[in-house]
């Protein structure tokens, strides 16, 4: 197992290296002069040149890259052009806010999706199966931004049950209950698609296992149906579910964007989006690198868990 983990970890290094190159080069596509944007209306040619030198923009590309990467490795992501504060100070707290939203959404998707999927498979063609299947098909096709708007219209504006924006009530002292209250609508909107995906996968994966010889053998031993389903069938159906859950978790890091925009959730998606529109190169680079890093990490963790559950894979 340790070997496997090391091997996977080593495989991640070149990927992250490639990611850093892509992000760096990609931002060279930004139209307009960053230095001119930075200085505003009455900048002189000399002051623009000075800023270019300060940002290292006058050096050849590869030197700029090495300088940038070296700084990043030391935890220095530069300074945001628009916000004029260190990128790290922005990216870390915003990313944490997104993690909260993503985790809540994923929790909903798993807690609802896995049991519904498994039960649908066990009771194939029952009403639960039908509702689950239709729900999953619908959920997968739902535009998140539309769902978020509908939820806001019904539950925040008309019924007044939940707030429409932010993470905390600015008049109160915050606290967990306040946070949960603000989380409900955004996390449901974000959960719709992962929920659909996980439900479908749990169902198909369980179906496959239930029809396998192994389960037939277990059944033949006379075990109760409950034990058969929840202990034997689910365990064997689990690896692909965990694997896709890992992927969904990763996607949520970017996928919360639409919800963040609509519910003014101060997350990394919203920040990245605004930074992109404002051509804030250091902030875009920092945020993308940060998200990509965690995305790779999450996939790695999911892979390792799957390998742990399914020893056969480690040998490969």
């Amino acid at each position: 197992m340790a070997n496997y983990v090391v091997k996977r970890l080593l495989a991640v290094v070149p990927i992250l290296f490639g990611v850093s190159i892509v992000i760096f080069l990609f931002l060279q596509l930004v139209p307009g002069d960053v230095a001119a944007t930075l200085l505003g209306p009455r900048a002189t040619a000399e002051s623009i040149a000075a800023i270019r030198a300060e940002l290292g923009l006058d050096k050849p590309l590869h030197e700029q890259y090495v300088q940038w990467l070296f700084a990043i490795l030391q935890g220095d992501m530069g300074r945001s052009i628009i916000l004029q504060v260190p990128v790290v100070d922005i990216v870390v707290p915003k990313f944490f806010n997104t993690l909260i939203l993503a985790a809540a959404s994923l929790l909903i998707a798993i807690v609802v999706g896995v049991p519904v999927g498994v039960l649908s498979a066990v009771h194939q063609y029952s009403w639960l199966d039908r509702i689950g299947t239709v729900g999953a098909v619908l959920g997968a096709a739902t535009p998140t931004f539309w769902l978020a708007l509908v939820l806001m219209y019904v539950f925040a504006l008309n019924l007044g049950w939940f707030p429409t924006s932010g993470m905390y009530d600015l008049r109160g002292d915050g606290g967990l209950l306040d946070l949960l209250h603000h989380l409900v609508l955004p996390s449901i909107a974000t959960a719709a698609i992962p929920l659909a995906v996980i439900t479908r996968l749990a169902r198909s994966s369980t179906l496959e296992v239930i029809r396998s010889d192994y389960i037939t053998a277990v059944r033949a031993k006379g075990m109760s149906e409950r034990v058969v389903v929840w202990r034997h069938a689910l365990r064997n159906a689990l690896p692909p579910i965990i694997s896709i859950t890992g992927l969904q978790a990763g996607f949520l890091l970017g996928g919360t964007l639409f919800t963040e925009v609509i519910f003014t959730w101060p997350g990394i998606g919203l920040q990245l989006y605004e930074a992109i529109l404002g051509r804030d190169v250091p902030l875009v680079q920092g945020a993308m690198l940060f998200i990509a890093f965690f995305f790779v990490l999450l996939n790695l963790v999911a892979d390792i868990i799957v390998a742990y559950l399914n020893p056969k894979l480690r040998a490969r």
Partner: protein
């Protein structure tokens, strides 16, 4: 959770009548209502975009000044505690009194005594000089190029200054500057308000904007980017014991600004009771909020939405072609139908909140037939090439730019023009705008304005061609330039206002700028928000506001 909303609903219906009463009184009598103001509470303000760096002298945009104004005082300010117009009265703030020499070049300013910055530093003539040096004197240690760029108009005539006494400073101008005070109170880019020198020593130009320290009625508490800017009443505020309503301490304990970049979220947050007051709401939602019992206050302001035409483009170099554009646009329709009366149709680019404004000036009423005639008589009778008009998708002061531009586009198409719109996010858009109009970019959108008539010079003098100024459409007329130069040094108010008006009318005669509407800058607030005064300015004074709950 649902309890909160029930309570809110009960409160709103009960106080509806009271709110309407306050509205009626508030229009004429300002903060002095029949009710006794209550001290305390937190006011949450929904901003239309995130504020810049909180460096009062170097930070850009009205939004930032709306925030900073509460923490910073300047030598002079406008009295925003009264709603009377057309422009707010200019009054001394940290300047207690001042004398101007006969020829208009020497200003001797006596400062208020006993004023301290929020960090305890005393305000004296040295501190004032230190601040002016920061904006004006390249050789000073604290000099900020950005502050210098932002306040260039304010100090353009300054030649030297001298600390005469502990609380007296003398400013010497190279030439008389008629709108010196008008520019002193402007907050468009940076404002010439004063920051604490000892606080600057701690943070330097790079970080001082994260730690704003002024002498204003509120002091800074914290800021979370994209989420909130929190300030508290400054207990040692110099005006705290004053009887003068213009300078007294605020009623509010706390003031929180929350950025909602998109208007829909702002409306929702206000409607759901998460914020107390919001600005720049979509006109359709304003009507609806008013029906639901929210208070709406609006009025003339120094604001205009206009397009600059690119004078260097083919067809657009023909006055008939430009005039045809002017006649083709149904400004009344935009102001009254699309914007539901929250804006006035604009027939000139001088703003209503300005001493050179003439409400009867209407050279280009909506006349599609005349537009077609003029187009036929122009050098491009077939309508010319497909024009590219650049607009922002949002941003401070732009109301609803895309629908407005779509409306203009439709009007122009009806008259025989062919217009393609290109939209950009506000920050990106601004970076284009500052560069000036490039080839094949036929018109640029902009929305701003000033209470000082020097505004006419800012947008139409040929010495302010982009990127050194705001003449982005390359309009050039020696006669206009001469009038503006004459106005600059004219010390007689009436004569000066007239010169600016003449210059403005000439620019309009040549149809170089296409005004669209003047926003009435509606603010919508919860019915329990009392005492709010809508002064004719793009930022407001929150010291008069109190909460009735």
């Amino acid at each position: 959770m649902s309890l909160k909303s029930v309570r809110r609903r009960g409160a709103s219906s009960a106080s509806l009548a009271a709110a309407l009463g306050a509205l009626a009184l508030g229009v004429s009598a300002g903060p002095v209502t029949a009710e006794e103001p209550k001290r305390g509470g937190t006011l949450i303000v929904g901003l239309d975009s995130e504020a810049d760096f909180l460096d009062n002298q170097a930070a850009g945009g009205w939004v930032t000044w709306r925030v900073n104004k509460n923490m910073f005082d300047a030598l002079w300010t406008e009295d925003l505690t009264r709603a009377e117009g057309p422009v707010p009265e200019i009054i001394g703030e940290l300047a207690e009194s001042w004398e101007v020499s006969e020829d208009g070049t020497e200003w001797t300013v006596k400062l208020r005594e006993g004023v301290t910055f929020h960090d305890g530093t005393a305000l004296n003539a040295e501190a004032v000089k230190w601040n002016i040096d920061r904006m004006w004197n390249e050789d000073s240690e604290q000099f900020s190029a950005k502050a210098n760029g932002c306040t260039a108009f304010s100090w353009q005539a300054l030649e030297s200054m001298e600390v005469v006494g502990e609380h007296t400073i003398k400013l010497v101008m190279a030439a008389p500057y008629g709108e010196f005070l008008g520019k002193q109170v402007d907050g468009g880019c940076g404002n010439v308000s004063l920051m604490s020198p000892s606080n600057w020593a701690k943070w330097g130009n790079e970080n001082v904007g994260e730690h704003p320290v002024g002498t204003g009625p509120f002091e800074f508490v914290e800021r979370v980017r994209g989420e909130k800017i929190v300030m508290e009443r400054y207990e040692d505020y110099w005006g705290a014991d004053s009887d003068d309503p213009r300078f007294r301490a605020p009623y509010l304990d706390r003031l929180i600004f929350v950025p909602y970049t998109d208007a829909a979220s702002r409306v929702a947050a206000l409607e759901a009771g998460e914020i107390d007051i919001a600005m720049s709401l979509p006109p359709d939602s304003i009507q609806r909020l008013e029906e639901k019992g929210f208070t709406v206050k609006q009025g003339p302001s120094p604001h205009v939405i206009y397009f600059t035409l690119n004078m260097r483009e083919e067809c657009l170099d023909d006055p008939n072609y430009r005039k045809a554009i002017q006649f083709a646009i149904n400004r009344e329709g935009i102001a009254n139908d699309l914007l539901g009366g929250t804006a006035l149709p604009a027939y000139g680019f001088v703003v209503p909140g300005n001493n050179s404004f003439d409400p009867d000036y209407k050279p280009y009423p909506y006349d599609p037939e005349k537009a077609k005639e003029l187009l036929a008589a122009s050098s491009c009778p077939d309508g010319g090439p497909t024009m590219t008009w650049l607009i922002p998708t949002g941003g401070s002061g732009n109301i609803i730019p895309v629908p407005i531009a779509e409306w203009v586009q439709r009007n122009l198409q009806e008259a025989g023009f062919d217009v393609a719109l290109e939209t950009y996010e506000w920050q990106t858009y601004l970076s284009f705008w500052w560069r000036g109009q490039q080839e094949d970019q036929h018109a640029y959108w902009m929305s701003w304005g000033m209470t000082t008539p020097i505004w006419v010079e800012v947008v139409s003098h040929s010495k302010w061609f982009a990127p050194n100024g705001s003449n982005v459409g390359w309009y050039e007329n020696a006669e206009v330039d001469a009038l503006l130069d004459q106005a600059l040094t004219e010390m007689d108010d009436a004569k000066r206002y007239d010169l600016y008006k003449q210059a403005h009318d000439l620019v309009m005669e040549e149809a170089a700028i296409v005004p669209i509407v003047h926003d009435s800058t509606p603010y919508v607030m919860q019915p329990y928000v009392k005492g709010y005064v809508h002064a004719p300015q793009n930022w407001q004074d929150f010291r008069t506001v109190w909460l009735d709950n």
